[in-house]
Structures are given as structure tokens and as C-alpha cells.
Symmetry: C2
Subunit: 220 residues, 2 copies
Amino acid sequence: MEPGFGVSIPRLYAYHRALREASAAGKGTITSHGLATLLGETIAPTQIRKDLCALGARGRRGHGYAIKPLSAHLAWVLGLEHDWRVAIAGFGYLGHAFATFLAARERRFDVVAIFDRSPQVIGQEWQGVRVDDIADATRVLRAAACEIAVVAVPAEAAQGVAETLAGAGVRAILNFAPSTLRVHREDGMPVVVRNIDLAGELSILTHRLAVGTMPAVEEA
Amino acid sequence: MEPGFGVSIPRLYAYHRALREASAAGKGTITSHGLATLLGETIAPTQIRKDLCALGARGRRGHGYAIKPLSAHLAWVLGLEHDWRVAIAGFGYLGHAFATFLAARERRFDVVAIFDRSPQVIGQEWQGVRVDDIADATRVLRAAACEIAVVAVPAEAAQGVAETLAGAGVRAILNFAPSTLRVHREDGMPVVVRNIDLAGELSILTHRLAVGTMPAVEEA
């Protein structure tokens, strides 16, 4: 089932994370208010019910949602049911941070290839993975069968790196470079790109401080 | 003027970035289609017009928007009109990446304090800023008059660190730890928290790959 228009995937991921916490704490059911509490009241119970309803999940009044099937359904929608092979392009502080984060946090994501263009970095090892020259990406990625890549290179290099990755079979890119990427796969389909602009994230805070608004509900 | 309900601040920041690019390229006006092109068609022209209209900005048909006043207005809404003093809590790879990124990218954000709890890291210098013990945060932050902090510490330490920061005058936190923070200032007002869950961002990609949807317009 496809989530309806307007359902935010980051919110669904947050619900999935909270359900895992509740399940680990031994709970079998949870209400939308219980979920909101686990999420630090950053998302309102009405929004939670609306989102879950759009996925076809309805809680029983006074009982809430059965955690196990809801968690399994969310995992399916989020693509967390199976493992993903991830490549990291750009192994500066950010690429390193991301690889370390994934290794510690999400066993579903397996870092199988790392690239850089700096001779000082190429040849280094990170948790058994060798840092390769980005110029060899096509050969390495074809062998590694990577579908997802993280781009953590300088803005001016990002488009070229993304094209190389797409040409080597990557179908989805998480882009940290502050530049807009447009990339297509060899079959002509667009590569799915998610941009994270860290300065943009910071501007959400400066907006709130400058304009002085403090909505109870976080924008997701 | 406060953006109306439904306007996404990350989108406004993206417009501001594109307007700066257009201005640097010598343009005086730009249409919503021109903005969409600069944004790699990740946001539809109708959405752009709707967002800008909610800010009170209307383009002239066939001419578009005057870049300079629109850019200035967006800067005001985003709080980018004046400088911000930023503290980094947790100086591992991610904290380091963020500090380096800010220094290279946004002169409006000035990293004035860095904290860690590891004796190996405390005392190091980064671009003239000494890494202090997080235990000294209250004293250091009061002197530095920091309003914004980035939390890049492990999940289990995040809430405690956030409380320390809030007690030292921090009013807004960008949180990379995968845990939900609830913090209040000394005057009882909630600290503005923006959570970035990197695994959640990745799940946006896995969702698309797993479910096979490829909307033309990125969720912001």
C-alpha cells in the first residue's frame, strides 16, 4: 500500500523508531497519545492517527494500535524489510561520520564501498572497507551491486560524482552537497535524490528565533 | 510577516539559495519556472508561487519576481539578516563535519564554542576555537552568548547535554542524535529543537526504491 499524498516519510520513520522502543520495553499495544509521548510531543496525536489511517491502520478506541503488525507494515513501507548496500562518495569528516553512524545504528544499511579523490585518503581502510579512487567507482560499484549512495563531496564536484554513481547502477542518492543534482540512470529513469542542506536545517532554527514563533508541532 | 501554515522553511531556504545564485549570475528578475529550473525541478512552479504568495510576494506575469527585494525578504524570514553564534556539542566526525561545513559555507553562522567529553579531544584547537570539556559548558557559553547549538553526541548523552546547553542560555538546538529531546529554558519556554535523523533520511530513499514510487516533486 502506498501512503497517501501528504504523508511524510520522516514522520513514518519516527513512528517506526518509537514502536521499536515501545516493543523493546515489552508493550504490545500503544495509543496515538502514547506514540506522541515517545516522540517528545513533537507530533500531535491527531497527526499520528491521520498518518497511520492513510496507511490503512486504525487503532481501537481506548486500546490503540497493535505494535507488531503496525511496525511490520511501516518497515515494509519504509523499505526496511530487507538489507541495503550503501556506497559513500567523499570520505571527509561528513562521509566518515555517516559511515560510522550507519554501522553503529542501522544494521539494515551495509556500507560496502567508499570513494574519495584525495591520494591521502585512497587506500585507507574503514571497518574492512578499502577507500577507492572515485575514478574506479564504475568498476567497484558494479561488483558491489550498490543501489544507494551518499554524496558528501564539495558542491562543485557533486554533479559529476552523481553521474558516475548513476552510471554504475546507483538508483538513489542522499546528497549533502549544497547543490541541486539532476541524474538519470542508464535506462533513462531519474535517480531518486534526497537533498540534505545542513545550512537550510539551521535556518529553520534561525527563522524561529528571528520571527519568534514556537509552534508546538515540529515541521517534518 | 509570518509565513502561513504549510510553508516549509527548508523550501524557503532553497529559494533563497537559488535567488543568490541568480543574483550572482547577474539577473535582476526571475520567474517561478526559472526558480524551478535552478532547483533542478525538485519543486514545482505552482508550489513556488504558492509559497512566495504566502509571504506576500507576487511576481509580475511574464516578468517574474524582482530578485533583490524578494531575497532580502526571505533572508529576514529565515533569520539570515544577522549573524548567529553557534556552539557544537560533540566533536567527533559529525561535529567536526558540521563545523567545517559552516565555516566554508555560511559566514552568517560563527562557530564560537566546541565541547566534547573525551580527554583526547578536549584541548584540541579548531580554527582558533578551543575544544572545551562539556562539564564547563555553562561557564563558557554564558561568556560566548551562544543562542544556537548543534548536538552531535551519542543518543544516550543527548538529553543531558541539551539540558546543560539550555541552562547556559541556548535557545535553539539542531539535534543529530537519534533520540527525542525535551528541553526548556530557565524562563520555562521550550527550546526550539530540530531533529535530523540520518537513518530516517535514508529511509526516504529506501521507501522509494522498495515501493517504487518516483514523485516528480521532492518532499521537503
